[in-house]
């Protein structure tokens, strides 16, 4: 009898608990299916004394099975206007990445292992901006059920598979209802808390959930960056040809 009660209790617990990997998969699924996207973004850099500096960026993305293709065009500040980066992500090898410098008319291939480097001088790194596919991480155990500012969430730990990642682990909060990412804590190579990202202003466009705002706070230098999607069009009808190297010079 005692054994039956214990077994029943374990069964009930497992019905409500969720595997960390499963949470990550579900969180990925709700943002998948955008096919291609064109977004106008605004990035505000805030230094330790509160001074602000704004950058504008157009990002075009093509969803792919073996990695996304992204072309980013800098619209401001004026001295870098027209500078573009093209990234072809690969799951099995280093990404292909090119930089176009309009003043020199030069397309330059660049090393893509710089995962932890700062993106545009912001608190976002290249790996924060890139595709967050759940397969890029390893997970263990069950997700904890926690409350985050009144939102019921799954809290789980993921570890980047990429040896060039700037992080040893990330703790993520995903809301239980819609499986939307709410918060990530990033731990550096010394295993110390480096940054926290807060995700908000989620909206559902044509059945796909998109984030509208990310606030990234660096706890080690007291700087922060706010990334806002001013316009976001998905299923934009972009084709592979629009992510060819030739597009950089156009």
């Amino acid at each position: 009898m005692k054994t039956i009660v214990l077994s029943s209790l374990l069964l009930v617990t497992s019905l409500f608990a969720m595997d960390s990997l499963e949470v990550a998969k579900r969180a990925d699924q709700v943002t998948d299916g955008f096919e291609s996207a064109v977004a106008q973004t605004e990035m505000t850099l805030i230094n330790a004394s509160g001074q602000r500096s704004v950058r504008d960026l157009e990002m075009k993305t093509l969803e792919g099975e073996n990695g996304d293709k992204t072309i980013s065009t800098f619209l401001s500040p004026a001295d870098v206007k027209g500078t573009k980066t093209l990234t072809h992500e690969h799951t099995e090898r280093d990404d292909d990445q090119w930089l176009y410098l309009p003043a020199l008319k030069r397309v330059k291939r660049i090393a893509s292992r710089n995962k932890s480097g700062s993106f545009m001088g912001s608190e976002f790194s290249y790996e924060d901006i890139g595709n967050q596919n759940y397969q890029k991480f390893t997970y263990s155990g069950e997700a904890q059920e926690v409350d985050l500012n009144g939102i019921k969430c799954y809290k789980s730990i993921r570890v980047p598979k990429d040896d060039n990642s700037g992080y040893t682990k990330q703790i993520m909060w995903v809301d239980k209802e819609k499986f939307l990412l709410q918060k990530i804590e990033y731990y550096d190579r010394k295993k110390e808390l480096l940054k926290t990202a807060i995700f908000s202003d989620h909206k559902q466009i044509e059945g796909v959930w998109r984030v509208g705002k990310i606030i990234m706070t660096n706890h080690q230098n007291d700087k922060s960056t706010i990334l806002i999607w001013k316009e976001d069009k998905i299923k934009a009808g972009l084709s592979d040809a629009e992510f060819n190297k030739r597009v950089l010079k156009q």
């Binding site: 850099l45 230094n47 500096s53 704004v54 401001s76 500040p77 004026a78 001295d79 870098v80 206007k81 027209g82 090898r93 280093d94 292909d96 003043a103 020199l104 008319k105 030069r106 330059k108 291939r109 660049i110 090393a111 893509s112 292992r113 710089n114 932890s116 480097g117 700062s118 545009m120 001088g121 912001s122 700037g166 230098n221 060819n244 190297k245 030739r246 156009q250």
Partner: protein, 391 residues
């Protein structure tokens, strides 16, 4: 006057086009230099105002681009000029495009100097040590695009004259009887044709280009015509190639060129350069440090005497660094030294640039030139400040 009327007409015709995005950008700046040298009758201070303005009109099947550079030197009247580095229309077809007009192009892989960047004539009215400062070239270009490659055929017409700064400028290396009228082997309108193939490898991070050229060489020689000394443009057949390969955090580069001369006074010659750039990411907080090592070789099939010595990168090693601060001002510190292995001629360059208040850019630079004994260049130190307003 005629030039101004053409510009105004074209500008207004672009501006009145309705319904398609008209985009512009540019900068207005001031540059001031202090020069330390031993030459008599040469200035030791220079200053100029600069304007660069780009206007781009997107059209249903293409785009029109105008890029104007205007320099007004405060002391040198020869250096009060403007040039359209771009003035073209590009029509897009499904898998190809056709460009008609005037433009600049960049061909090459190296950082210090590019043997294969031969399409445009260098602008010596601007800083002659800035190899990226070029005169726009008139051309018609057709490019066909494949999945991972492209093939271009380009016909360049009207060879550009190379004007120089006045005789009191240390950037004028020529004798006083230099005349910028260009002598050519078969007339200035004889086209120079380029066939260029560019591709990216599928399974490795490799980009490469192959170019065949028939027409006037980018290099020229000086020879007397009456009492004047003039540049002579000669015909060549040239085969060139350049490639970039990324492996991990290192970029390997090479440029190769072989030139067969059609002029009795110029022998055939070959050029080669190899180099690498290795980047250390995230050092000193989040700064990136790029380290550069490049080697250049120039070899003529016959002894060219003085002409060979005019070639700046004939047996040179270049070492350099690029420190990106990754701050909100996109600050960068660049430094390099190029040494001729044979003559020990040296050029040292240090440059710092940063953004101020989002709209302004400050650039500080220092150059030191240590020429060999019989060089037409003189020993010189130059410190320069440039401030630009960007819009």
């Amino acid at each position: 006057m005629k030039k101004h009327i053409i510009i105004s007409t074209l500008l207004s015709s672009i501006i009145v086009t309705n319904g398609f995005a008209l985009d512009y950008k540019g900068n207005f700046g001031i540059e001031a230099s202090y020069l330390n040298h031993d030459e008599e009758n040469k200035r030791d201070k220079e200053g100029a105002l600069r304007l660069e303005f780009e206007l781009q009109q997107k059209l249903p099947k293409g785009k029109a681009v105008i890029n104007l550079k205007k320099v007004y030197d405060l002391r040198d009247e020869e250096r009060r000029y403007f040039d359209f580095s771009d003035f073209y229309y590009k029509h897009n077809f499904e898998n190809s495009d056709l460009l008609i007009g005037r433009n600049t192009r960049f061909w090459g892989a190296m950082e210090f100097y590019n043997h294969t960047d031969v399409f445009n004539t260098k602008d010596w009215l601007d800083n002659p040590f800035d190899y990226d400062s070029k005169i726009g070239a008139n051309n018609v270009a057709y490019t066909h695009y494949f999945d991972n490659s492209e093939l271009s055929i380009i016909a360049k017409v009207r060879e550009s004259r190379q004007e120089v700064q006045d005789s009191k400028s240390v950037n004028n290396f020529y004798p006083p009887n230099y005349d910028d009228d260009l002598e050519t082997q078969e007339g200035r309108d004889r086209p120079t044709v380029y066939l260029k193939y560019t591709a990216s490898a599928e399974e490795m991070q490799l980009d490469y280009s192959l170019i065949y050229q028939d027409g006037y060489d980018e290099q020229r020689y000086l020879a007397p015509v009456g009492t004047k000394l003039k540049q002579h443009a000669y015909l060549v057949n040239k085969i060139m190639g350049y490639a970039t390969l990324v492996q991990g955090e290192t970029i390997y580069k090479t440029e190769l060129a072989y030139t067969k001369s059609d002029d009795d006074l110029v022998s055939d010659y070959a050029q080669a350069s190899v180099g690498l750039e290795h980047t250390l990411y995230g050092i000193w907080d989040k700064r990136d440090l790029g380290l550069l090592l490049e080697y250049y070789k120039y070899k003529a099939s016959e002894d060219e005497g003085d002409r060979s010595s005019q070639n700046l990168f004939n047996d040179d090693i270049a070492l350099g660094f690029r420190l990106s601060m990754n701050d909100s001002a996109s600050s960068e510190l660049l430094g390099g030294i190029a040494i001729d292995r044979d003559t020990k001629e040296q050029m040292i360059s240090i440059e710092y640039n940063t953004r101020l208040l989002d709209k302004y850019k400050l650039e500080l630079s220092y150059q030191h030139l240590e020429p060999k004994e019989d060089s037409s260049f003189q020993k010189m130190d130059r410190a320069m400040v440039e401030v630009g307003y960007y819009f």
